[in-house]
C-alpha cells in the first residue's frame, strides 16, 4: 500500500474503514442476537423451576382432598359445585375453605363438580348423578414475566370409607 500513490492510498483506507464498520456491525448484531437468546434461555429455565414447584403443589392439593375425604365424606359432599375453594393448613391438618391464600408466587384453588355414571356404572360426562363420587380439579396459577400461567390436575375422588 505504501508504494501506491497518495490518492489511491486514501481511497483504499476509506474502503478499509467501510469494511471495518461492516465487520463491527455484523459482530455487534451477532452478539446482541446471542444475548437475546441467552435472555430467553434464562427466562425459560426460571419457568422450569416454577413448573417443578407447581407440579408438587398440585400433588399436595390432590393429597389434601384425600385427607379431607379420609376424615369424613361429608366434608366433600357438603361443598358447592363450581365454587373456588382453597386449602390451608390449620390445626394439624388440611382444611378446605373459601378464603383465598397464596403459596409464595402460586395461587392454588380447588373446584368440585358432580360425577355421573352411565348405564354400565362407568364414569361419564352425563348420566345418573353419583353422590358418592366427585370430580376434583386442582389449579395452580402464577405469573411468569407478566403472563398468567396455570397447571391443572383433575381426578375423581370417591367415598371409600363410609
Amino acid at each position: 500500500m505504501k508504494l501506491k500513490g497518495n490518492k489511491k492510498y486514501n481511497t483504499q483506507r476509506g474502503s478499509l474503514m467501510v469494511e471495518i464498520i461492516v465487520a463491527s456491525a455484523i459482530i455487534t448484531m451477532v452478539v446482541i442476537a446471542a444475548s437475546v437468546v441467552a435472555q430467553k434461555a434464562v427466562s425459560l429455565s426460571r419457568q422450569s423451576v416454577h413448573q417443578a414447584q407447581a407440579a408438587l403443589l398440585l400433588e399436595e392439593g390432590a393429597e389434601s382432598v384425600r385427607i379431607v375425604r379420609d376424615n369424613a365424606w361429608s366434608n366433600i359432599s357438603s361443598l358447592t359445585a363450581a365454587t373456588d375453594y382453597y386449602i390451608s393448613f390449620s390445626g394439624g391438618t388440611w382444611v378446605i375453605s373459601t378464603t383465598p391464600n397464596q403459596v409464595g408466587i402460586f395461587t392454588r384453588k380447588i373446584t368440585f363438580s358432580p360425577a355421573y355414571r352411565d348405564g354400565s356404572q362407568n364414569l361419564s360426562a352425563s348420566g345418573t348423578l353419583d353422590s358418592q363420587t366427585s370430580l376434583v380439579s386442582v389449579i395452580v396459577s402464577w405469573t411468569e414475566g407478566g403472563q398468567a400461567v396455570s397447571k391443572t390436575l383433575q381426578f375423581y375422588i370417591t367415598d371409600l370409607f363410609s
Partner: protein, 166 residues
C-alpha cells in the same frame, strides 16, 4: 491545488477517525455488556437446573412415604417410617437433614444423600397429619445452589398420605 486537496482530505479523515472512535467505543461497550450478560445467564441457567433437579428429592421422599404403612418416629427434620421391601419384609427408612444434606437410611444403614453435592438443603420440615383413616405427612424444604452467589432459596412443598396404612 494539490496541496489544497491533500489538506482537505486530511481534515476530513480526522473527523472521520473521531467519528469512528466514538462509534467503536459505543459498539465495544454494547458488545462487552452483552458478553458479560451471556456469562451471567450461563451461570443462571445452571443454577436453575440445580434447583429443578432438587425437586427429585421431594419425588423420592413422596414415593417412599406413599408406600409406607406407619410412622416410626417423627421430628421436624428427622423422619423414620415402617415400610416393606420388594420381598414384603419389614424395613425402616429414615430421612434426616444433616448439615445441608438430606440423608436416606435403609434399616439404619446410610445409603446416601438425596441431594446432589451442589444443592444445599437449608430447611427440611415434616409434619404429621392424622386422619380418621390413617396418617399423612406434610413435607417442605428449601434449597439453594452452591453456584449461586445471590443465595436464592426456592421452597418445595408436598403432602403425602401413607397408602400402606389404609
Amino acid at each position: 491545488m494539490v496541496n489544497n486537496i491533500k489538506n482537505n482530505k486530511k481534515g476530513f479523515s480526522l473527523i472521520e477517525i473521531l467519528f469512528y472512535i466514538a462509534l467503536f467505543a459505543v459498539l465495544t461497550v454494547v458488545v462487552i455488556n452483552a458478553l458479560i450478560y451471556m456469562t451471567k445467564s450461563f451461570k443462571e441457567t445452571s443454577v436453575h437446573s440445580d434447583l429443578v433437579q432438587s425437586a427429585s428429592i421431594m419425588e423420592k421422599m413422596s414415593r417412599e412415604i406413599r408406600q409406607s404403612n406407619n410412622i416410626f418416629s417423627i421430628s421436624v427434620s428427622d423422619l423414620t417410617l415402617n415400610t416393606k421391601d420388594e420381598l414384603d419384609n419389614n424395613k425402616t427408612i429414615r430421612f434426616v437433614l444433616s448439615g445441608s444434606d438430606v440423608q436416606f437410611y435403609e434399616d439404619g444403614v446410610l445409603t446416601g444423600n438425596l441431594n446432589t453435592p451442589n444443592i444445599q438443603v437449608t430447611n427440611l420440615s415434616f409434619t404429621e397429619i392424622t386422619t380418621a383413616q390413617g396418617k399423612a405427612i406434610k413435607i417442605s424444604f428449601s434449597v439453594s445452589s452452591t453456584k449461586d452467589e445471590s443465595d436464592r432459596v426456592e421452597d418445595f412443598y408436598n403432602t403425602v398420605v401413607l397408602r400402606g396404612g389404609y
